[in-house]
């Protein structure tokens, strides 16, 4: 088990390094740097001025060196102004003497940089926004997972029955309705004058301070609806497979009722596969979160990602990518480990 874990974590770290390097390359392309320069300086800078600004601020070093600086494994650049003798550098903050500044300042040292959009240290921004998105994800999970499992189990326990057909069609419909479609439909039906109901609010801005049934139902419903169908279908497939096993027939033949067979014998084995699916669904939820937070104006992590890209906030984009990649890799790891624990037939040695 231990060697399996170490190997998995090793591959995970390697993947994370490769991915962040690619994101670093893509966020630091020439047009982005030029835009950054002009927004830091002024819009009417000449090409020569842009070039010298980039030169003076360490953007003209080798890509790998800069990635190392960002990561915190290479010492930050320093530059002595030839005229004034002032020393500037990546790690030298305003008001700190050059001698006292640390030589390494990357994400490994906890230095995420400062956001251009929020004018705040990025670490704090990301934490706050993740907290908001955390609430959204939590409610989506609370709503989505039980409903999906129940639908899947009920559909799968009598394959081909009318209940099965109805529930399976519902699952397919839910997987065919991406968040931006269900969000629009839900708002029109439940929050607009045309729908006439106006039970809920079409925006979740107020949910950032205070989550209520009124302002949080629609985003949670839209997000849960898209993921629900997939998990339900996987549960159904797993359930139908279990129901054809010999031990289920044995249990039936020894006189147990159908309900007891399903609850005591089938359910436990049928829920192994959906666990993996639910974990792997989390990365897909990330795309949904970005869409839903934009649609409902809920300023969480997804909204921040859009804002960072829209405003060319390179440091914030990098930080958001690290978080996103980390989430994806962690869920993969947990699903692998969980699978081994839940399924006694799989042995890693």
């Amino acid at each position: 088990m231990l060697s399996f874990l170490i190997q998995r974590i090793g591959v995970m770290l390697l993947t994370a390094l490769c991915l962040t390097l690619i994101v670093f390359f893509l966020t630091n392309l020439e047009p982005n740097l030029e835009k950054l320069t002009k927004s830091e300086g002024n819009q009417r800078m000449t090409d020569a001025q842009v070039e010298s600004w980039l030169q003076n601020n360490g953007y003209r070093q080798n890509l790998f060196k800069r990635y190392g600086e960002w990561l915190g494994v290479a010492p930050g650049w320093t530059r002595t102004d030839p005229e004034t003798g002032n020393v500037t550098g990546r790690c030298i903050r305003n008001g700190v003497a050059a001698e006292e500044a640390p030589s390494y300042c990357g994400i490994l040292q906890g230095e995420w940089g400062t956001s251009l959009v929020f004018k705040e240290p990025i670490g704090g921004v990301i934490l706050k926004k993740l907290g908001l998105t955390g609430w959204l994800m939590l409610w989506v999970m609370i709503v989505m997972v039980p409903i999906a499992l129940v639908i899947g189990v009920v559909a799968g326990m009598r394959e081909g029955s009318k209940t099965d057909r109805t529930l399976s069609t519902f699952s397919i419909m839910s997987t065919s309705t991406p968040e931006y479609v269900s969000g629009v439909i839900l708002i029109v039906v439940f929050a607009s004058r045309l729908g006439g109901l106006q039970w809920f609010k079409g925006t979740s801005q107020s949910a950032m301070e205070n989550i209520t049934f009124e302002n949080f139902t629609l985003p949670v419903a839209a997000l849960a609806l898209y993921g629900l169908g997939y998990i339900a279908r996987m549960t159904r497939a797993s359930m139908t497979e279990v129901m054809t096993e010999q031990y289920i027939r044995t249990a039936r033949l020894k006189g147990l009722t159908f309900g007891a067979v399903v609850l005591k014998h089938a359910l436990r084995n049928a829920l192994i596969a959906p666990f993996t699916v639910i974990m792997l669904q989390i990365p897909y939820l990330l795309t949904g979160v970005v869409i839903i937070e934009t649609l409902f104006n809920y300023k969480g992590f997804g909204w921040t990602l859009v804002a960072a890209v829209g405003n060319n906030d390179i440091e914030l984009m990098m930080a958001a990518s690290v978080v996103a990649v980390f989430v994806v890799l962690m869920t993969q790891l947990i699903s692998d480990i969980g699978y081994v624990f839940l399924n006694p037939r799989i042995s890693v040695n």
Binding site: L26, L29, P31, N32, Y180, V184, T287, V306
Partner: protein
């Protein structure tokens, strides 16, 4: 001039779709008549879910084909005084003409825009899926068949792309600025080579002993392949037949790039499974070469799951294209792209729901059709 009632609007729309109804009836009648000879496609008509899916997909395919006849206005026509007007509103100056589903924020006809919008989706989504399959098959077959180092490296790369949050990748890849850096060109240069490699391998492995046929097929593949390649990837087709708008290329390449690793994983899994069958062992004993076995023994036997996944993947690609449009990264700013129309409409959603609702329902019904079709095909292919 009066505004149309709900019944009149529905009636008018049904009349506008006449070419589609005729087409649907003809296709369905022919298919059911020759059902016995049509193998898997014919068997689809035994499954109610499959029929519903097929009808929905055919509906949109026919709509895309006859879009010019169905649409009542041009997708870009702006008529003054029609801004945000409700469904069924009469058009001033044109007797008997109405904006069937109302006017949008720029006074264009919502109905015509939804109809025209089907064209771009139904060209891009299947084309991108085909390219993703070419990449996935060409790399997945050897990875599954040989295993070993090739497999390890390719799987690592595929897993890496899969671990990349899709939305982030799109934000980084589909921006107008990125074109000047050449990243999409490199990607398209690599990804668009795969179809050529695939067909060269396909013909070479089969006809390497028969030079007459080999040279003919290889010649055709290489000439057409590189002709299209030069036009699509680098926009340097000497005859100007193959051309792709740089923005479209950007989107296309990103969508192919995102889809390929999943196809790769599926093909790899099926190949390593089929690779242990007796007929593969028989071919190996006959002394067939690896690529012949992969392309002419394993691939045809893997077609069932691949066709099902192909349908599902077109639906997924449609959703992806909609997502791109939703973030304003659509094909072109004024195109009638569904995702972009939803994005424009969502800002006025509580006041004018008729702007965003029709494209949203259109996109949903197409994806639903593809998913039902895939489900029907899966069910019927399992019965064999």
């Amino acid at each position: 001039m009066e505004r149309l009632t709900a019944f009149e609007i529905i009636g008018q729309i049904l009349v506008q779709f006449t070419p589609v109804w005729i087409g649907l009836i003809v296709i369905l009648a022919l298919s059911i008549t020759f059902k016995k000879r049509l193998s898997l496609y014919g068997k689809l008509f035994d499954s109610p879910i499959g029929i519903v899916g097929l009808v929905l997909v055919l509906f949109w395919v026919l709509t895309a084909i006859f879009a010019d006849q169905i649409a009542t206005f041009d997708a870009l026509d702006q008529v003054s005084g029609m801004k945000n007007k409700k469904p069924g509103w009469p058009v001033r100056g044109l007797d008997g003409m109405h904006y069937l589903l109302g006017g949008d924020n720029l006074a264009r006809d919502v109905f015509s825009r939804v109809v025209k919008g089907s064209q771009s989706v139904l060209i891009i989504a299947p084309a991108a899926t085909i390219f993703a399959f070419m990449v996935g098959i060409t790399l997945g077959l050897p990875a599954g068949y040989f295993g070993g180092k090739t497999d390890t490296i390719l799987t690592f790369i595929a897993n890496m792309v899969l671990a990349f949050p899709v939305i982030l990748l799109f934000f980084l890849l589909v921006t107008p600025e990125i074109r000047s850096t050449g990243v999409p060109l490199v990607l398209s240069g690599v990804l668009f080579l795969f179809p050529i490699v695939f067909f060269v391998l396909l013909f070479y492995s089969k006809y390497s002993e028969r030079p007459d046929k080999l040279y003919l097929y290889l010649g055709i593949t290489l000439v057409i392949g590189f002709w299209a390649y030069s036009g699509l990837a680098f926009n340097s087709d000497p005859l100007g037949v193959f051309y792709m708008d740089p923005n479209l290329l950007n989107i296309f390449v990103s969508v192919v790039f995102v889809n390929s690793p999943t196809v790769f994983r599926i093909v790899r899994g099926i190949t390593s499974d089929i690779g242990t069958r007796d007929y593969v062992a028989a071919a190996q004993t006959r002394g067939e070469r690896p690529w012949y076995i992969m392309l002419w023994e394993i691939l045809p036997n893997a077609r069932g799951p691949l066709i099902v996944d192909f349908c599902l993947r077109i639906g997924y690609t449609t959703i992806l294209l909609g997502t791109l449009g939703f973030f304003g990264l659509g094909v072109s700013p004024e195109s009638a792209d569904w995702g972009m129309t939803i994005n424009e409409g969502r800002k006025l959603l509580s006041l004018y729901p008729h702007l965003a609702l029709p494209p949203a329902l259109a996109l949903m019904s197409l994806v639903l059709g593809l998913n039902l079709l895939a489900d029907g095909l899966r069910e019927e292919s399992l019965k064999d």
